[in-house]
């Protein structure tokens, strides 16, 4: 008998269907780092190579990297979570970070250890390949696809097939810039009009039978300049999905700006050319692609239905049936699926961060509670556990509570997004990451997650104008910068109002500059003003929507009125009166802006 013979096994828990990894890439990466250190590889080529393999630079240092692990369609299996837990402890900071694009990031990894992470990922079929650089980034899919009551059909298999088609495809190795696909479930859950290619499943009746297809939006995107995407055509049948994708990529590859890094996302091309012209070009290009593919190219869409099997209860029924906080959690963290009596349960993480211990507990929880045997990463740095049987919810809550994953408010305004900011990013001007955590703590303390009027609003924070925190589509959005009083600097945020990513997608309207230490009081003031002026059945989102569109008739009629109402909160105190005002969150020394070189464009 040896030790390994007796290792606990979960042989019956579902394993990932697709292996995204290539083990030889780990070996190659290790060798390339060695050559680079020996000076046999120039900086630029090495950087491109590193980014193509998913290792991003780190703030103010060349010794560390961030490894971005892709979760195509957001899917992640328990054995993969366990592996990431180990890797985060061994090679990172003992925590991992869920991003807004269904990636898991390991930060502050020593460059020489990246290959060890790639090796570990390959053991469980995961990859970081093309997670950075000028490639097709992780293909996203709504965490509710397949269970959303409002969807026409499940777009997950199409998202996976698209990811599979473009990963390592020569066509997408050297694009003018990064390129993003988002699949979703329905209009309401959104996120398709602020990305290069956004897709909503839809059906139509044709000759008496139901035909599947998509509503495709092109040329949207958030960034230094953000744009809302345009719908290509009324209905794109599923057979045309791949041809359309290839056509769009080919146009971008051919016409995209390869010189001006700041303006080379496809949305600039669409904007410069004008939508009608671009649309025309795509339709023509698609006809050419369709006609000239030497062999019939199909997406390998796997329609095998997932096995839904309620896990056998392993632990006994201990603990009270309705533990403290259960009702609140049930209301703010769970949704009924179209498959009764199943629920989808959302786990909110402070700005997407989770410890290695929590990850390993989470793996067990998924095995014990999800009848589909895996989890999905969400749109807002969170995790969805789907197919949880109604009767198991109290037990699941108790379990989550014991490992610190039962914070309420996951589906509400109390779960703000914060990009990594000055915790690791070279471009960041402020600690947006910590600010998001502070806001969440304050909201939960004030029990604002339980307020139905606030439920559909959102707060999103970026540490610079580059929108990784998606501030442009937030009800209340912030991006960081520096403010100045005489010689003294303080962390400051540009606040925008009324952004949204649903069927009425629009970018937030600039409202005011808010010093970092005044962001929370300002948000609370906006809520107070809303409560004073709201109509019955009004939500904060509706109210702000009317304000930014000049359709509100109460005290606050416009963004300018709002600005005036908040003015008094934004005046900097003297350093003698309030020295803390001049420090950023998480810092006890005077604020100054400091940035390095960005690598979003390789």
């Amino acid at each position: 008998m040896t030790v390994t013979d007796l290792k606990q096994s979960y042989s019956d828990s579902p394993k990932p269907k697709i292996n995204w990894a290539r083990i030889e890439e780990a070996e190659n990466f290790a060798n390339t780092v060695k050559l680079f250190r020996q000076g046999k590889y120039d900086e630029d080529s090495f950087r491109r190579y590193r980014l193509q393999h998913g290792a991003y630079g780190t703030r103010m240092t060349n010794d560390y990297a961030m490894v971005r692990i892709k979760l195509p369609a957001g899917e992640i299996y328990p054995n993969q979570i366990e592996k990431i837990s180990q890797l985060s402890e061994q090679f990172s900071i003992g925590s991992a970070h869920f991003s807004t694009r269904e990636n898991i990031q390991l930060h502050w990894v020593i460059l020489e250890d990246v290959s060890e992470i790639l090796r570990g990922l390959a053991e469980v079929g995961l990859t970081s390949r093309e997670a950075c650089g000028n490639s097709v980034r992780n293909v996203m899919c709504s965490p509710l696809s397949g269970v959303c009551p409002d969807e026409e059909f499940d777009s997950t298999p199409y998202a996976l097939a698209t990811a599979r088609f473009f990963l390592r495809n020569p066509m997408s190795q050297n694009l003018p810039r990064k390129f993003k696909f988002n699949f979703t479930c329905c209009e309401k859950h959104g996120m398709v009009r602020m990305v290069d290619v956004g897709l909503i499943p839809q059906t139509r009746e044709l000759d008496g039978s139901i035909q599947k297809g998509f509503k495709i939006f092109l040329g949207g995107g958030l960034g230094n300049r953000s744009f809302v995407g345009h719908q290509l055509e009324e209905f794109t049948p599923e057979e045309d999905l791949l041809y359309t994708s290839i056509a769009v990529l080919r146009i971008f590859d051919r016409l995209g700006d390869r010189k001006n890094m700041a303006r080379n996302r496809m949305r600039y091309l669409v904007n410069d050319m004008g939508w009608d012209k671009f649309q025309n070009l795509v339709l023509k290009e698609r006809a050419i692609v369709r006609a000239t593919q030497s062999i019939v190219t199909n997406l390998e869409v796997d329609h095998t239905p997932s096995v839904i099997k309620r896990p056998i209860k392993i632990s006994d029924e201990s603990g009270s049936p309705n533990p403290d906080g259960y009702t609140r959690w049930l209301k703010t963290n769970t949704l009924k699926q179209k498959q009764s009596p199943y629920h989808s349960v959302f786990i909110t993480l402070e700005a997407g961060d989770i410890t290695s211990n929590q990850l390993s507990e989470l793996a067990t929880i998924i095995r014990e509670f999800s009848s589909e045997g895996h989890a999905r990463a969400g749109f807002v740095q969170n995790i969805a556990l789907r197919y949880v049987h109604e009767d198991d919810l109290p037990r699941l809550y108790s379990k989550l509570l014991t490992v610190g994953l039962a914070k309420s408010g996951a589906l509400t305004m109390a779960a703000p997004i914060g990009c990594s900011g000055t915790t690791s990013c070279n471009l960041a001007l402020t600690n947006s990451h910590r600010l998001a955590k502070e806001i969440q703590r304050k909201f939960l303390e004030l029990k604002l997650d339980q307020d139905d009027d606030l439920r559909d609003s959102s707060i999103k924070i970026s540490g610079c104008p580059n929108s990784c925190g998606q501030h442009g589509i937030a009800t209340i959005g912030f991006f960081g910068g520096g403010g100045r009083v005489g010689k003294e600097m303080f962390p400051n945020y540009q606040m925008s109002l009324g952004g949204r990513s649903d069927g009425e997608t629009m970018l937030g309207v600039t409202c005011h500059r808010i010093p970092a230490k005044r962001v929370i009081p300002v948000i609370l003031k906006i809520i107070e003003l809303f409560k004073q002026n709201k109509k019955s059945n009004d939500t904060l989102k509706d109210w702000i929507h009317r304000i930014v569109n000049g359709k509100e008739d109460s005290e606050i009629k416009s963004v300018i009125d709002m600005r005036k109402a908040l003015d008094s909160l934004t005046i900097p105190p003297t350093k003698e009166d309030d020295p803390d005002f001049y420090n950023d969150f998480g810092s006890d020394s005077s604020y100054h802006t400091k940035t390095g070189k960005g690598e979003c464009a390789a």
């Binding site: 030790v3 090679f91 925590s95 930060h107 502050w108 989770i354 910590r434």
Partner: protein, 270 residues
């Protein structure tokens, strides 16, 4: 006739199966370094108890020698040490035995919890030990003091390794140190990675060859003790333990460096 290897093969860890047979043959002294209460509840059969705290209360060579004698260990007795703290406490004790001149010492490849979870023998009997006489042959070449470290750390032939967790390292470390967190050394069920794995990882970090390597950690040389054995397990010939570690270094107000201009602590979910 085949020639004997010049180098003595160093056995760093003892696997579960070998230890069980050595216990049956009564050819080994097993040391349990957990707290006395834990030891009394159950331990590996025939094991004696030497809680790490007991050793650390006075780890002068003379005292250590007395402890060694009282555990019935002479120069020839093979010793296997185990703990329940991923091998770090056991490493510190094993290193101390080496330091006073005992060469036949190795670490159990796994922890007591794993041993038990495998359903292997354990009992609560305290063995009757006959005291023995061990000679004292100090091995200063495996010890680094703060003075020594300060003199040699800038030497290009010296690699200084900090085995604390990444965030602690970023916050402050001894100038010139590289970071190899102790968690990196182990696998899920073994206190040390397989040799090939460890070697590849160290090679990537350019920790190889004949360099002098000094390990340190937070306070008493446990995490870095484990690293000491990890490095030895791949045959690196010249490894020293800075046994008083960062706590002493800071206490002496010697220079430290910090990763500047980044709020990495706020990325932690702790």
């Amino acid at each position: 006739m085949c020639s004997m290897s010049q180098e003595k093969i160093i056995k760093t860890t003892t696997n579960v199966d070998s230890l069980r047979s050595e216990i049956r043959d009564k050819s080994v002294r097993v040391i349990d370094v957990r707290r006395e209460d834990d030891y009394k509840q159950s331990h590996i059969p025939t094991a004696v108890n030497l809680p790490l705290a007991n050793l650390l209360s006075d780890d002068s060579p003379e005292r250590v020698l007395k402890l060694v004698n009282s555990m019935g260990i002479d120069d020839e007795t093979p010793v296997v040490v185990y703990d329940d703290t991923f091998g770090a406490l056991a490493s510190r004790v094993a290193w101390t035995l080496e330091y006073v001149g005992h060469s036949e010492v190795s670490l159990l490849e796994t922890t007591f919890s794993t041993w038990k979870s495998l359903g292997l023998e354990n009992d609560n009997q305290v063995p009757n030990i006959q005291s023995k006489e061990h000679s004292l042959r100090l091995r200063p070449e495996i010890l680094a003091t703060s003075d020594y470290l300060e003199k040699s750390k800038d030497n290009s032939d010296v690699i200084l390794i900090d085995n604390r967790e990444r965030l602690n390292y970023l916050e402050q470390h001894i100038p010139g140190a590289i970071n190899l967190p102790y968690r990196t050394l182990a696998t899920q069920d073994k206190i040390l990675r397989p040799k090939d794995d460890m070697k590849r990882l160290l090679d990537n970090r350019r920790i190889s060859g004949d360099s002098e390597i000094i390990t340190y950690c937070g306070s008493v040389g446990t995490l870095s003790g484990l690293a000491y054995y990890a490095l030895k397990s791949v045959g690196l010939p010249n490894v020293k333990l800075y046994v008083r570690s960062f706590k002493e270094w800071k206490g002496l107000e010697k220079p430290v460096v910090k990763q500047q201009d980044a709020h990495y602590w706020d990325l932690s979910a702790e």
